[in-house]
């Protein structure tokens, strides 16, 4: 059995065939990997205001908020001071929590 294995390992014609088989598997694997669907991350951001009466608000957005961003929640404008991930991403959704502070109230 062992000498049979050595025979096939050393037979160059057979190894040429295995060369193509292995390359095919590699290219198939690369193609499977690259065939993964493109996706666009959607951010579900929970805006939480430090002090005041503004209740937490969830907004879907295509880009994540950054500290310094201004956001309008209801009639008021707030500034984002801190962003962190609330729970790990699931599929194409990323869950963030943005802590905000009040800037001004609109008339």
């Amino acid at each position: 059995m062992a000498s049979n294995g050595v025979f096939w390992t050393n037979l160059k014609i057979y190894q040429l065939w295995r060369f193509f088989v292995i390359n095919f598997k590699i290219l198939k694997g690369v193609e499977h990997s690259k065939r993964l669907p493109k996706f666009v991350i959607k951010y579900k951001v929970s805006y939480v205001v430090n002090k005041g009466d503004q209740p937490p608000t969830i907004i879907n957005t295509s880009r994540p908020p950054q500290p310094g961003d201004r956001v309008q929640l209801g009639r008021n404008e707030f500034e984002v001071i801190k962003v962190h991930q609330s729970i790990p991403p699931r599929g194409e959704f990323c869950f963030l929590e943005a802590t905000c502070k009040s800037i001004e109230s609109l008339p």
Partner: protein, 477 residues
């Protein structure tokens, strides 16, 4: 014009640089900071380590390539990252003052810090063992190995121990490849009968390689890597021990602890043991000059990304989405970690804690093709963010294909190699519940001279790709 800074020109960083430079180098400022002025093709260091390949064959000079693709190159090291103010401090290799390099996006692709200090007596500089983890140590290994060849020619019997030198080491594949090449080299020198070859590893079973082993179909029946490697070792008269965590090395012996908490030792004359990999010691500083490294990196110094950390192994095993998809830091979303630099959410192999509390776990390998894929993915996502303000590419290691060709003899006629083809890298038991977590139509393990041809072709094509020459985009990572 945006600024993209990349720290590290290994597989991940250099791949990212050539994608970014070629695509947006004209319109945006791409900067690479690297300790060395060359890209090192690490897989071929095995051959350098036994004197079968010249060092210049594994090195690709970076400056010319980066000049051609509009990437600014800083030959130096990054010492600090200031994520609030979006800049890093880079120290030139000639030791001058730190230079501030601003960024809009940062890719940390530093690779591992080889934790030689993690095991007393380990390593080529302050220890007794050799290494093929970098060019100078591979050259020194070659010299030392040749000295032992001379001793064997004089009739001396030598014990060569190859494996891993820390209970939580990774990269068992590279060590296996080195062992195989030593065997082949000794046979070619007709000195094999003068050497005792020994494999010493922290794997739970032989052939685990830190990826939980490989199950593959051959002629209708399921085989596994444990039996495969056992047959190779038996055929080549190589002794082996697994489930061993090396604790200390002196000039004659390697001291280890096994799964049951028993202590033992293995005598050696020549040893090459892979150290534990940790994250490079980059300091993260906030706008108030506080060290916030603990918020950005895990205990081992790897950068936290969009994975789910803290799951016990039993849960992680069945949570493929716990693995990061876009390698983006969740706190500073303009920071990405590519290649070995990112923190994995856990191990792929079954972890073990001995009765003495020692963790013996073959940690997940993220070298070579995996690093290159992540580098490409991060680069494409940064391009997407700059052009369309969106991320479009994702690839978890539970979805990622990889191939690893471990040479077992550097000859295109009489040599051979083991092709390890795995899809996905991390077993996905949700998608492939009945086939050990992997696609059995692709996952494969095979040894033969055909794999040696593939190994040599990969060496040539990857060096070609590293030069960013015509058609490089069509060469898989």
């Amino acid at each position: 014009m945006a600024k993209v800074v990349i720290i590290g020109a290994g597989f991940a960083g250099h791949t990212a640089a050539i994608y970014l430079g070629n695509k947006i180098g004209h319109n945006h400022e791409i900067t690479m900071v690297n300790k060395f002025d060359y890209f090192l093709y690490l897989p071929s260091l095995i051959w350098v380590g036994i004197g079968r390949m010249k060092p210049e064959k594994v090195r690709v000079s970076l400056k010319k390539i980066y000049d051609r693709i509009n990437v600014r190159f800083i030959h130096g090291t990054a010492s600090e990252v200031h994520p609030d103010e979006k800049y890093i401090l880079a120290i030139n290799i000639n030791g001058s003052d730190a230079v501030r390099v601003d960024y809009d996006y940062l890719i940390i692709a530093t690779g591992p810090r080889l934790n030689w200090e993690g095991t007393k007596g380990l390593g080529p500089t302050n220890g007794y063992t050799h290494s093929v983890c970098w060019l100078d140590s591979a050259i020194n290994s070659s010299r030392a190995y040749n000295e032992y060849l001379d001793r064997m020619r004089c009739g001396e019997r030598v014990k060569i121990v190859i494996g891993v030198g820390h209970p939580e080491s990774t990269c068992q594949g590279a060590a296996f490849e080195y062992l195989m090449n030593i065997h082949f080299d000794l046979v070619s020198h007709k000195l094999r009968d003068k050497a005792d070859l020994f494999w010493l590893s922290n794997e739970p079973v032989l052939g685990d390689f830190g990826v939980g082993g490989v199950h593959f179909k051959k002629r209708g029946s399921i085989n596994n890597s444990e039996i495969f490697i056992r047959e190779i070792f038996s055929k080549y008269n190589i002794e082996w021990e697994v489930q061993k965590g090396v604790k200390e090395v002196d000039e004659n012996n390697i001291y280890w602890e096994d799964y049951n908490g028993n202590y033992g030792e293995t005598h050696y004359d020549f040893a090459m043991l892979i150290p534990q990999f940790q994250g490079v010691q980059l300091k993260f500083v906030d706008k108030d000059e506080n060290d916030i490294s603990k918020n950005i990196t895990n205990n081992a110094g790897f950068v936290l990304v969009d994975g789910f950390y803290g799951l016990p192994f039993e849960n992680l095993h069945y949570s493929p989405e716990a693995w990061p998809a876009i390698y983006q830091n969740p706190t500073y979303r303009n920071i990405f970690a590519a290649g070995i630099a990112f923190a994995p959410p856990g191990s792929i192999s079954v972890p073990h804690i001995t009765p003495n509390g020692t963790i013996i776990t073959a940690t997940p390998p993220r070298t070579g093709m995996v690093s290159g894929i992540i580098g490409r993915l991060v680069a494409k996502n940064i391009i997407g963010l700059l052009k369309e303000n969106k991320i479009s590419y994702q690839e978890r290691m539970t979805e990622m294909f990889t191939a690893c060709i471990a040479s077992t003899g550097n000859s295109l006629w009489s040599g051979s190699a083991v092709s390890v083809i795995v899809y996905p890298v991390v077993p996905n038991y949700i998608r492939f519940p009945n086939t050990n977590g992997r696609d059995e139509s692709i996952t494969h393990l095979e040894k033969g001279v055909s794999s040696a041809w593939i190994k040599r072709i990969i060496h040539t094509t990857m060096i070609y790709k590293a030069h960013s020459r015509f058609g490089w985009q069509f060469i898989p990572e």
